[in-house]
Amino acid sequence: MNAVAIPPFERFYEEYREEIYAYLRKLAGRDADDAFQETFVRALRGYQSLQHGRHLRAWAYRIATRVAIDERRKRRPTAELPELPADDGRPAYAELDHLTGDLPATERAAVVLRYGYDLDYADIATALGSSEDAARQAASSGVRRLRRRMT
């Protein structure tokens, strides 16, 4: 198997920081700035253990998702997500932001990654640290929960 070189951390950080920040704004709301720092600090801690440079984007999302989930667990049940304006020109986020606020964290992450970011289930699985089936299930049960609420 061909090794894909792991880039210097600065390159990795520059490449993904903006989308990870946008993602964390959706997932962690007003805690996004702390979650952002924590995400990249964890990435730095694990960076030397990476075996290759493939799937770095999904790896970054997985860490960010875990951080957001951890933060939510810490703050529940008082956690309240602010309503963010759709200022990024990607309306899917804004819709999902309103819609998914009350879902369990994993389902919310799966729904946002699938329908807001258009990641495929293989990447979402990586992001959630689960199997592809589990990712698909989380997204579909999230959607089911949303449907139930809307009818």
């Binding site: 210097p8 951390f9 720092q37």
Partner: protein, 187 residues
């Protein structure tokens, strides 16, 4: 979505404060043009003239490890000493240098070079003789040419046997400037 500058800075500071970096670097201005200054936990490991940051980041990663991050605080001390040097206020650098990634011969040459005092110059042959290899002037020149921490490890103080400037990886103009800043005379 742009990361707020405060958040970006906070991360870069924290990464360094938690000792998670192989190399921290930053850019700084000087009378001889922009410099990229980089440090490991052991000490200053690179000063680059007219840097192309992307290229330097790759090089630093190859030499010292992939956890390379732009972070101002770890290089504050180097920046301060360089400022003082360029103002003529500092004749010796106190900050440690990290030459551990270099071949032994080059480490030896650069260690000896650090003993050439401010305001003085020596020749390639003279430096070769001082490391006990009087015939190695050319190899000494090669070691100086690849000096990763110019200015602080003062390769500008080494000139040709006739006193001509000969060469400098940062360009002869810079060598001339550094020497006239120091008011250099032949040892």
């Amino acid at each position: 979505m742009t990361v707020p500058a405060k958040t970006d800075l906070a991360f870069r500071d924290r990464a360094a404060a938690e000792s998670l970096l192989d190399v921290a670097y930053d850019l700084t201005d000087s009378p001889i043009g922009p410099l990229l200054v980089a440090t490991t936990e052991r000490g200053l490991c690179e000063i680059a003239f007219d840097p192309d940051p992307e290229e330097e980041v790759e090089r630093l990663a190859r030499q010292h490890g992939i956890r390379v991050l732009r972070s101002a605080r770890p290089v504050d001390e180097a920046r301060r000493e360089l400022d003082e040097y360029f103002e003529g206020q500092r004749h010796e650098f106190d900050l440690p240098v990290d030459l551990s990634a270099l071949p032994a011969f080059q480490q030896g040459v650069l260690a000896e070079l650090q003993r050439v005092p401010y305001g003085r110059v020596d020749t390639y042959g003279g430096l070769a003789a001082r490391i006990g290899k009087p015939k190695a002037a050319r190899a000494v020149g090669g070691a100086l040419n690849r000096n990763p921490v110019p200015i602080v490890v003062p390769c500008h103080r080494i000139v040709g046997s006739t006193g001509s400037l000969v060469g400098y990886a940062g360009g002869l103009e810079r060598k001339q400037l550094l020497l006239s800043l120091e008011g250099g005379t032949l040892v």
